[in-house]
Each structure stands twice: as structure tokens, then as C-alpha cells.
Symmetry: D3
Subunit: 234 residues, 6 copies
């Protein structure tokens, strides 16, 4: 019998081959904000809002190296470091909720030396002042000094569910103060184009609204509102 | 039979007439912090602490345009925009807990063009970097890129319960890093006076405490503490 | 350009064809508890612990019809009803956190008439007394009377992330008071076998432990504990 | 200067006169579940879902005696006891979040002797086994043995915001396992009628659905779903 | 240099000698509820309200075997089993928040064979149906099927902080539906006496209140309320 | 009978004698970050991650004056002020969860005049802008304008459990953006040395990692990973 671990999220496995999104598409996506890209994705692909930047200016865009961690154990982040290529970001999920400090300035130094552009982790991080000074963008669900061990296998570059979003290795992950969005590698180019179209469109709208035009008129909402039964009372 | 929607918080209604607090009283209140005004109110009128500024310097004071939103739907914010007059702030409650990003830079641009001074929302917001750059103060329970739809009616300028506080249209809403306080329109002047009296009083106290006088002595606490049974052990 | 909605989780889509796990394997899995099956899966496949049964005896096992809901909108549950075949369970995820009451006794009546064995929903449900009286097992993150609307498209039978677990249509979903576990359809048979092996093994262990044998001895832990440095102090 | 405490929620005040909803309307409302009444209210009036029954069968309907408590202080519940008339329920809000055990079997004994039908409290309660044995329905946000003091004034029979819902003295409060709904006194009769109409209507629907009719057909959803763009894929 | 682990809560240590509270005092304490004993303790010694019984009738009283767990690791529970003597209960804290299922029916079988009366754990448990059928009382912060490993040392019979309460080995731990209270071993007898005195006193009060006497009169509250400024308005 | 309050955490007591950690050791500890000191302590002594700095640069190290507060009551902070000596920090626990604003700029002014270096409080604080301008470091679980009363006794300089950590008066408390760690007074010197050793060691590691050496090699992880069964797949 094949081990049940032959599961889509098998433990104890490192995939060395990652089908990364096209770098040109990644570059295009990196020009936009998370909110814009999320809209361009058809309002899908967002992580839950408990993932927050550790400093307000943190921002990143890159292709995902995925990690599946065990609670209180950061062994797999060391394994992941070797798989990082310039332009990658690391996305770390955990098999259970954990706010432990899985990641600090030493691992960040190692990741940076590999060309890593940032980290998203559904867990805690520490050495936050150092990370901010290094300008290494981290998005996490907690900040905590609590140390971790290196005892149990997880996996690297398997599909993971991180803060409610499914991430495949090589997907584009874009993060800023509005949250974290995941763009499947094969959709990167078209989402980038849709984001650009949206951005162009928003520029014109912004001008109109700044000039005093109401959204009610600009979006032609008055009729549907009346149909829905909205009543004005003086 | 009259519709049960003839309720105090009826859905699908926009009240155009708002009895705003006196602008002079609003101006007086705007000189104080939320903690001081909350004390001057007799320790009432605060929203729950989950409402936080989206950037630390955010601060606002104005008269309330109230909005009752449906979860994941920001249609009523567009309706509210038309009701804004210079000096107003928007206070948005929701019929259910929702962290969706109901509000972003486009709506902010529109609100600003109407003279709006800020937003309190018991929901999520997005485009936070843009909002901070615009200096538009927002107080929310979440930051999230998640987009919303425009499909279901709520109401504008009905009394709403926002983060535990009852807000009537025209009430003064003051918000800073300590939280959000609501001052009923007809009490604005007297609360402003009480806040000023409190502030004057605190200035003297601060001087004394800075000079080394203990609160135990300044507030004459030693006797009541002894009566309550406090024992000192060497 | 293909719409970005051509995503793995596209909105507005109903897949009528579901590759269900083998009924015999489902039957085998249904004999075990969630904890046992989770172990047999290599400790993967669990939903987060906030999903709880609405009454303590609730228990279910079946093949998944998946639903992606919009917050506060239960339209897609009606669409899903038509796709249910006897032996199915419904697994409903939501594009944002929502505790609204998406599901009540009317939908349950409809589901039961289609042969549905239960519901897992990362949202709220209502009419809980009726559901308990019907003996219809429901696992949810909330109980709330709050009604929902029918206005926005989600999807049916796309892969969904529900409470942290990835669920494909046709996967086996087993739920009891310990939680909810998802077994990929193609692994159902081998996981069932591994669960049975585990169960057999546990029976013998239980006898030993009941007789006073310590786990320290039964699992031969004394040496590894000593190696790890455990010190006994009298 | 009038004290700012002359606020709508003034502290240190007991209103002896309560305009209670008509007992006949209360009786009619008591025949329905919370979910039905909430719908009949136009989907308004619900408390937040963190208010839960302390035992599953708890159920109550009556006219509200309102209490505004200070955190960790149950003095006002004793003051409220005297204001209870047969058929009343007590609704207790708190000026800050608190899980302390404000209420136990002694207060329950006193409340019952006054004809009280139950308690809703946005705080903790204790002696839960005794309360369940007495069959005294309590809906709270916590169960905790933590004792409270009797030192600071709150108020009785002022409008309060309890778990997100505005409650006036005399309003009808209905609670069951689905949650807690508040019906303004003057709307009690018409909401009761609307609830009954809804109930009658649901009975017929339930029959149809049990017989295998799909909601898709019964509610004529196929056309609007198609218009919204729903695609079926085989 | 002595290892810093020579800390009050050192890891990797098992203390075999436990100074248990007097069994007679434990027996006396076991006759009372948690709320009564908490009051008799001077309103101290409670764990936080997130610790809940896994079935409503769960109730226990015994002397503490303490365990300090690592997140996701239940090794030390096996070590603790050997230290259990008849009349003991196990109190398990964790070095970080964790909802993993540290404890199930096998460990319970082992604990029972040693004469263990129950478990308090600031973590998750599983096999809850079996535990309820065994009548083994468990108080935990979560129920979750998630399995744990056996890899890292914690400690047994060191002082632990469990859900906010400090517990020394040998202390009396009493738990019921109202929560969990810890009575230091050397105070067990006097707390038991104070609890009994309180219980006797409450019986008389209960009779009076049932007969219609108000707490306002029984506790002579009217004068202090008036002094505090309570105003009655008709 | 001695009062049960003769408990380890007796209420209504102020201990004037505090055995403070050696100032030289405090000074040494103050040179390190919380994460480093926590590791040097053998991974113990941390408070839970909900305690956060009120401004990102907040940082403090000093000897603890401990306070046990009642919910919504800050009386004991005034009592504590008198016990502060230069180099002390105040650590305030509460007998129940409370987010009220126990502490603001007046108390901070008083504390500063006594030589206080900062505050850790498992409760709320207010006047946060003033505190930040004063550069007075505060670590709290909430920010809230809500005022407190002065009515019930707690204690000063008794052992307290604050956010999950046991703190004795005189212990060293170190806090920065990574969290709060407590070093028992008698261990201060050896923990400081261990922290320095760790820091020295980390410097060398950081250099290596920056140069491209992998943690896998630097920590010799490849063999244990292989033994644990890690498989690489191309």
C-alpha cells in the first residue's frame, strides 16, 4: 500500500522543480496594489486579514517557494532556503495555528543572500526591529519572541493553504498594507493586464470624483437604487 | 399593515434632513482628546476598542452622517456621499460582522470633495497607503483588500449602533488614537465646556505630579485606602 | 483575453460532473472517528477547530458537493441542492469570514430529500433546534439567526478552501465531535485501510494501558527521554 | 450647567415607569422562533452571535427591564430586581467588555420570585448547573465563576446597547438557540402578525421541499441565476 | 555557570515528590462548586473562562500533578502518567498557545488505571465522545482531532501557569461548569471551612429571596445606593 | 482562622520591601533583545503575544514593581507609584480580562518623576499620543479611552501572573517589539552572560549566512533531515 502521505500535501517532501510565473508578468504585477490585483483576479485569491505587515511600508512581489511547517518547529524554513532563487518569496503555512516566532534576522540574512524578496507566514516572527532595518518585508499573523525547535518534517514546494488561500509553488504572491493576494502562475500575465486596465480606468474616475461628480451619477446608480426601493425622506 | 421596516433602523431609507450639532461646539470639542471628552460625557459614548486608526496620526472631529451597511456591500456609502456637507464625518455600521474592504481611495476622493473630515466604519477598508498619503483619517475594525458588491439596500441617516455605541445623524464624533467617542448633538456645547474644565484641571495636576507629588496625596487617597483595609508590609 | 475568472476557484460556475470516492471506501471510512482518520492520513486534512457540531451527537460521512459562498448570501446553496446525490454531504466555504445564518430547516428539508447526509459550513446556521430534531448533522463556525440574501454568484463543485482545508468535489468528508477531516477521493480506500489497521492496533494498546502498563514502557520511551536529558528529582 | 450625564444613557438613574409592549402581542411573538421574528422585523434587531444560551433548551420571551452595568460590578442587577413585573425579562449591557460572573443562582431565585422569565447579559454568569436545574433561561457571552463587586452606579430602564442591539425598556426580547432578537414595543403586534404569516408560508414550502421540489424551481431562481451569468459545466 | 534552566519552571525535569493537600480537605472542597470556593479564596485562584468542560456534567476535584507541555507535543503527558497517585488530577500548561489534540482515550485509559480523577489542559483534546462515555472529566480550551508528536522535553511537577492561574504540584484543583479554581495545598482546609460557611449562609439567603425579599433590603443596599447618588424617576 | 486571603496573591496588601535584581545585571540584560534573552532563559519567561508596544520604538528594561488590579479599577496604580524607585518598571496584572484604559499621561508623569522606566499592563491604556511624545514605553493588550474607577483593593508587590508569565517583585522585565520577557532576580547575572554568549555566537553566524552559507550546512542539518526521512524530488 502506498503511504497515505502520497497526499497532495505530503509531509517530508521537497520538490526541487518549481514552475515559476513568467518574470515579466511578475514585474508587471509588482506595479499594482493588492486591492487592484485582487479585483483583477475576479475578487479571489486573498489571504485572510489576520496576515499583517510587520512594518507599515512592507511591500513585496515574487514567485512562491511554499513551506508547510509543524507548530513550534522551523526546520523546514532552513530546508526552504536552499530552494530560493532570486525573485522568489517564501510562503509558509502551518499544520496548526501557532504564533511562535518561526523566523528572525538570521534566517532573513540567509534568505536575502539567496535573493529572496520577502516572507508570508501564517505564524509568528521575531527580531522585528532588525527585519525592519534590513528592509526585509514580512507579513505574519503574529509577532512573538517565542523560539522554535527543529525536530519534525514538514514539506517544501507542495501546494499549501496559507491563511485561507491555496498557494502553489511558483505562483505570484503580492503583499502590501492591504493584505496578501495569490496569482496562479499561469494567470500572471492576464491578471497583470487586467490590473493595468483597471488602474487606467480608476485614474479617470478619481479625477471625476475629485471634481465633485458623485459615484451615484458616475456609476449610474440612481435608477437601480430606486428600483430596489430606496426612499428619500426630507 | 405598516411594514415592520417602519422600525427605528429601517432599511432602504435616506434621511436628507440632519440636525447637526452647533459648529461652534464641534470646534470646541475638536480641541480635546477622546479620553478627555469621554470623561466629560460621564464615561459614556465610547465605541469598542477594536475600532482603530489606520495610521497612528489619524484624528478627526465632525458631525455624523450615519450609514447602515449590509455585509460585503458598500452601495450605501455611495448614497451617503451625496448627503455629506463640509464638516461632516461618516459613521458606518453593518448589519453583521464583516471585515471586507468597504472603502478605498476612490470613495475617499469623493468624500473629500464633499468636505468630509473622516470615516468610522465597523468593517474593513483598503487602499490604506493612499488614504494615509491623502491624510484622510479612517477608523476601522480591519484592513482588507477584499472587494464588496453593490446589491442590497441599507440606510443613510438613521440611528445606528456602531461598535457598541449608538450614533444619531448630526451627533459629534471625535476620534483619535485612544478610540472613538460620540457626543449627542444637543449635548455638544456642555460636553465641550466640561472637557475644557477637565483639561484646565489636569494641567495643574500634571505639574504637581511632575514635581514629585504622589497621586495618593494629591487625590487624598490614603484615608479611603486604609478604610478599605489596605495593609502595608515591610 | 480569457477572463481571470478562469481561475481554479472561478466564480459563477457549476460543475455537474463529480468524481466521487468509491462508495465502499466511504462506508469503510464512516466506521472510524475523525481523529483516527486524520492520523491515518499522515496527520493532514483537518479543518480548523472553530468548526463545531451544532449538537454533540452530530456525525456524518459522505462525498463532497462543494460550494463557494459570498458573505451574507446563500444563493449558491440552492444551486448546490440540485447537484446532491444520495450519499453526498455539502461543504460550503465563503469568500470572507461571515457568521450569518446561511442555512436553516427549509434548506435542510430540501437537502434531505436529495439524500444529503450533512453539511459543513464555514459560516453560521439557524433553526438549530429543528435541525437537531431532524437529526441532520451540521458542522459550522457559528449559530446565528441573521438572514442572508440571494444576489451574488459563487460556485458549486469547484475546489474550495474551507476552514483551512482544501476540498475537491467528490472527496470524502468525515465529521464528528473531534472535528472535520477531508480524504481525497483517490486515497479513500487506502486511508480506510490504514485507519482500520490503526484501530486494531489501538485496541490492544487500550487493553494494556487499562491493565496498568505505562505508555513509558509500552512505547519504550524511557531511553529516548533519558537521551533527551530528562532528569528525575526526588 | 446641566450635567453631561443628562445623556440618553445617563448613569445613576432608575426609571420606574416602563411602557411595556402589549401582553397579547408578547404572547403571539413567543410562539415563534428568533429566526422567524428577525425576518419579520425586516432582518433587523438581532444581537451579535456571541450571546449564547447557557443550556441548549433555554428559550424565553418577555418585556425588557434594561440594566447598564459597570465591568465587574453587579450592583444594578439588585436594583433592577425591584423593577421586575411578571412577564418581564432582564437585559443587561455593560459599559465595557467583561466576562465576570455577574449573575448566579441567588439573583435568579430573586428574579423568579418577581415573575421574571429570563436574562440576557453581555457578560458572564455562574452557578450554571443550578440555573439549568431551575429551568431559568439565561443568554450570556460567557460562563465564569469570577465574582463581582457592588460599588459603582449604572442605570436601570434606560435605553442600552446590548451585544450590538439597541434595547428600550418595555421592548419585547425573544431568545432561543438561534440568538436574541429585540422587537420595539410599538411594533410588537405587527411583527407578530408578520411572523405568523411567514410561518404559515414556510409550512407550505417545507412540504414542497420535502417532496423533492427544488428551491431553484419553487423560488423561480433559474432565470435570475442565468441572467447573473451562472454557467453549468458537465 | 549553572544553566539558566535552573529557573522556577525549568524544562526537562520531573519532580517525584509532591506535597499533596490533605485528603480530608480535598474531600471537603469537593462538596462545593467552583464559584463558592473561588469566593472563599477571597476571589482569587480562577483560571480564565476559555477553559471549558468537554461535556456539561464534567466535574472533578483532586490534587494536582502539573505538566508543562511544548506546543504540538504530548510526550510529557506520558511521563506524568507514572507520577499519578489515586486522587490526583493532571493540570497541563503549554509554553505557547496550542489547540492541538494532546490527549485522547488511550491516555485517559492510562490515567484512569492510575486513579486519576480528571484533566485540565490549556490546549486541545480529542476522542471526546469516548472520554464522555468513560465519564472522564476534561476541561480544555479546545477540541481538535489534530495529533501531536513526542519530541521535546517539558517538565512534570514544576509550578506552572495554566490559563492565567499559578498551580503548584499538590494544590487542590476543583472544576465544574463554572470554571476551574486552584486552592494552594496549605490553604485547603481553611478554604474548605470558609466555603462551607458561605454555603450555609447562602441557603438562608436563598430562602428569603425565594419568598420575595429583595436583595436591596436583605443586603441593606438602599442607603449606600442613595449615598452614591442613585436617583429614581417615575 | 487565618483569612484565605493569606494566599500567595493576597488582595489588599502592599509589600514595601522588594528584593531587586542586581543593577549591574539589569544593565547587562538591557543590551539585548527580548528574543535573545528568552533563548538564554532556556525558552521560558515570555508573556503572551497579545501584549504589544503602544508605539513601535518602545523598549524598556528594569526591575519589577508588581500590581494586581481589579477590572475597571486603577486605584492600585496610584498605590504602586509610591513604591517605585529609579530603575523600576511597573508590571500590572488584572484579576479578570479588561481592556479599560487604566493608565494615561497623568499617571505616566507621576511614574516618570519617581524614575520609572516603563509599564507592562494586561489591560488597556489611553493618552497614547502623549505617552509616545513623552517617550514613556508602555506594553499593553489594548488601547482604549475608557476611564476606570478607584474603589476596590488589589495588591502591590505580590507575585502576579501577567499575560501568562509569573512575575515576582524585583524580577527583571525586558520588553521590546518582539514581546516581554521576565528574568527572575536571582538569575539575572547568569542569563545576561548567556545572552551575551548567544549574541557573540550569532554575530559569526550572521556573517556566514550573509556570505551565502546555508543553515543546512552551518547547522549540519542534512544528515538528521535525511534520517528523519526527508525526500528530495526533482
Amino acid at each position: 500500500m502506498t503511504a497515505p502521505q502520497a497526499h497532495f500535501q505530503a509531509l517530508g517532501v521537497v520538490h526541487r522543480t518549481v514552475h515559476r510565473a513568467d518574470p515579466a508578468a511578475v514585474e508587471l504585477l509588482s506595479r499594482h496594489g493588492v486591492s487592484t490585483v485582487h479585483e483583477a483576479m475576479g475578487r479571489l485569491g486573498l489571504m485572510q486579514p489576520r496576515i499583517r505587515p510587520i512594518y507599515p511600508q512592507a511591500r513585496m512581489c515574487g514567485t512562491a517557494i511554499t513551506v508547510l511547517l509543524q507548530p513550534g518547529d522551523n526546520w523546514m524554513l532552513h530546508v526552504a532556503a536552499e530552494q530560493i532563487q532570486p525573485g522568489d518569496v517564501v510562503v509558509a503555512a502551518c499544520t496548526a495555528d501557532s504564533t511562535d516566532g518561526f523566523f528572525g534576522d538570521l534566517l532573513a540574512t540567509s534568505f536575502v543572500s539567496r535573493g529572496c524578496r520577502g516572507l508570508v507566514i501564517d505564524g509568528g516572527v521575531r527580531d522585528v526591529r532588525d527585519l525592519a532595518e534590513m528592509g526585509f518585508p514580512v507579513f505574519s499573523c503574529a509577532i512573538h519572541a517565542k523560539g522554535t525547535i527543529k525536530a519534525t518534517l514538514g514539506s517544501v514546494n507542495v501546494p499549501v493553504v496559507c491563511a485561507g488561500a491555496l498557494v502553489h509553488p511558483g505562483d505570484v504572491v503580492l503583499a502590501d498594507i492591504d493584505g496578501v493576494v495569490v496569482v496562479p502562475a499561469h494567470l500572471a500575465q492576464q491578471v497583470a493586464e487586467a490590473a493595468q486596465a483597471r488602474e487606467d480606468n480608476e485614474h479617470a474616475k478619481r479625477q471625476k470624483l475629485a471634481g465633485g461628480t458623485l459615484g451615484l451619477d458616475m456609476y449610474a446608480m440612481r435608477e437601480p437604487l430606486a428600483k430596489a426601493g430606496l426612499r428619500y425622506i426630507d
